[in-house]
Amino acid sequence: MKRYIWMTVSLVLIAAMLLSGCGKKATTGGTAEDPYKVAFIYIGPPGDLGWTYEHDRGRKALETEYGDRIETKYIENVPEGPDAARVIRDFAQQGYDMIFATSFGYMDPMVEVAQEFPNVKFEHCSGYKTADNLSTYFGRMYQARFLSGVVAGRMTKNNTIGYVAAFAIPEVVRGLNAFTLGVRSVNPEAKVYVVWTNTWFDPVIEREAAVALLDQGADIIAQHQDTTEPQKAAQERGMLSIGYDSDMRTFVGDTVLTSPMWNWGPYYVETVGAAMDGTWATHQYWGPMKDGVTGLAEYSPKVPQDVRDEVEAARQKIYAGQDVFCGPIKDQNGQERVAAGQCMTDAEMLSFDWLVEGVVGTISE
């Protein structure tokens, strides 16, 4: 019947067999001269200028630090879900010594593959499941978010701030709440309007969400996404914005007042160094701003000195141990959720599922 299909299929199979025959066998183990092989799994492309861009900057820091002693590789645009397990397993099978996965949805696949390859070290960003060869790492971005909220609270003219948020998961909810607390610490009249996009990386949807917020009258756009699109949308309307992930001002311009940003290099250098020395042990790292893993990007010239001073004072308070989610904190209904003198525990912050007073919007998909 449709013989050509059979033909094609068998051709592909034959070609596959021939080619795999000539292929080199993947090296297993390794001698002392072999470089230490490190792989990264990215949710977006490094060209997103945001989340993945920063992880890739961390990867490059590794190469700069260790030179020939190390070999790094990355794979981009890996969907969260069943596909991720395949990609992670492929790296483990190809003899990689250490695998970093940089999105929350890679958690179960990482656990699954880590069980199968006890000699490979796994590092998962933002998750909560660990094993003897699987660590987690993240930074207390909410502290930098709070500071950026102080900037926004001072710079808004009509007390209407828009926030383009990805998923209603604890990480994003925590950031939105911290930002709002920062805003209202200096400007109790201001409100933060949230729109959920249900995507980490979708430039078109992120832009649309920002435009919707601008239409509602927002004069500053903050965000929790992987790209610079919300910043660009605000700039096109002549409005200000707060970036995220990277120093977005360098890509968009001075309308980006500042950006709470990641700096993974020091952590990557340290943990890979430990793995190469044999001192690596499983851990759960949630680095404070003080460690430098999170922080504020350089200010735009539009931010006046008195605002900078105010942020600096808030920063010193956090450095001194006065954390962001310390009471009194009320939820959207005006009900007190954290009493004065109390602070939320890590476990509470890691499962944040309510919004603080001042956020307009609901937690939903």
Binding site: Y4, M7, C22, G105, I169, F352, E365
Partner: protein
């Protein structure tokens, strides 16, 4: 002189053999040009693709993981397309099948015996898929509503319903508030054959064999064929068109629902994001490349699965961007789809001078092949 494009009077054996071979070579050459332009040795890239898809028992299992949902949805779509019913809703039927299977796995656990949990989950998935396809089918059969739009729109309803469930009422209470249901109890796991390749492959083979049998050896299959080829004739033959369309579509939806049920019970073992990466849409390509032949669907699905897995391999081994994998997939698919045209049509050069004798009715083929 001019060039005409004319239908072959019958499909020649040479064309059937030569066209796919040539299309495949053209595909490889086009891809090679692209790879050379990005500074990569095409042979090395193709070798990486081949190794990563068929090179080992493990990589073959990963190719199958991709191929199984494509086989089942491809079969589902092709039976609908045979009736000229444009079911674009395989994606939604797959997702709803997954939702129903997840419901059974999560909420019937402890209610019914463990041994029944998996079969019930799979049947629930098929039933849900069938119902979801039944909506546009019923609307079309009895009210004449265009099925392309209704079946497409229902995809979004199913996808949003699923995300509502794993963000909301079905969210894992131990999941730190992250979206996704709890993991299914082990009794609801579809056993794996090796690697992650699971029993879904057996379901697909059985389904393909059954469909082939129905279409070629039963009265019902004969009726379906007539409806697909000529509705008026079917009407005068006294075939109940509405009933047959509805039945065929229930079958089509059940197959897609089965794909979804296998995906949640065999691979992710929970309902979560990233359940389907567009299998229901890729199924349409699979069905057409297989010319709606159920047995061919199986093989085309494996080929598509290999292309999907191979794209990632190019990225991993060659350090090319992800979009390169996608472009390469397109480069390989396009000539193969286009090539199939040449088995039925041919190009002819016609000289102007001999106007009197028309060159149209010259039969070319040496032997005839039934298609």
């Amino acid at each position: 002189m001019r060039i005409v494009f004319e239908k072959r009077q019958s499909v020649s054996r040479q064309a059937i053999l030569l066209v796919p071979v040539l299309s495949f070579l053209v595909s490889l050459v086009l891809g090679a040009i692209l790879l050379l332009m990005s500074g990569v040795n095409p042979l090395a890239a193709y070798a990486a693709m081949a190794r990563g898809t068929f090179g080992s028992v493990y990589s073959l299992s990963e190719t199958l993981v991709k191929a199984i949902p494509l086989m089942l949805t491809g079969l589902g779509v092709s039976i609908a397309f045979r009736m000229q019913f444009w079911n674009i809703g395989a994606e939604g039927q797959l997702v709803l099948g997954a939702v129903a299977a997840a419901w059974a796995a999560l909420f019937l656990h402890g209610v019914i015996p463990d041994a029944l949990l998996l079969p019930v989950a799979i049947l629930a998935g098929m039933l849900a898929g069938a119902c979801w396809a039944g909506v546009p089918a019923g609307l079309k059969a009895y009210l004449g509503v265009d099925e392309t739009l209704t079946s497409l729109m229902l995809n979004y309803v199913a996808i949003l319903l699923a995300s509502h469930l794993y963000y909301g009422p079905w969210r894992d209470p131990q999941g730190y508030g992250f979206p996704g249901t709890a993991q299914f109890p082990a009794a609801a796991w579809l056993p794996r054959l090796w690697g992650r390749a699971h029993w879904g492959v057996a379901f697909a083979v059985i389904a393909a064999a059954l469909l082939w049998f129905i279409l070629n050896r039963t009265r019902w299959g004969f009726e379906l064929k007539i409806i697909g080829e000529n509705k008026t004739a079917a009407h005068y033959l006294g075939i109940n068109i509405a009933r047959n369309v509805l039945l065929a579509l229930l079958l089509s939806g059940a197959l897609s629902g089965l794909a979804g049920a296998c995906e949640v019970t065999g691979i992710s073992r929970r309902l979560q994001q990233g359940l389907s990466v567009g299998y229901g849409y890729t199924a349409i390509i699979v069905a057409w490349m297989a010319q709606l032949n159920p047995v061919a669907v199986l093989f085309v699905a494996v080929l598509m699965g290999a292309l999907l897995v191979g794209g990632d391999q190019v990225q991993m081994m060659m350090g090319l961007p992800a979009s390169m994998g996608l472009v390469l997939q397109g480069m390989i698919l396009f000539p193969m789809l286009a090539g199939s045209l040449f088995t039925e049509y041919r190009l002819r050069l016609i000289r102007r001078e001999p106007v009197a004798k028309t060159p149209t009715a010259t039969p070319v083929p040496t032997s005839e092949v039934q298609s």
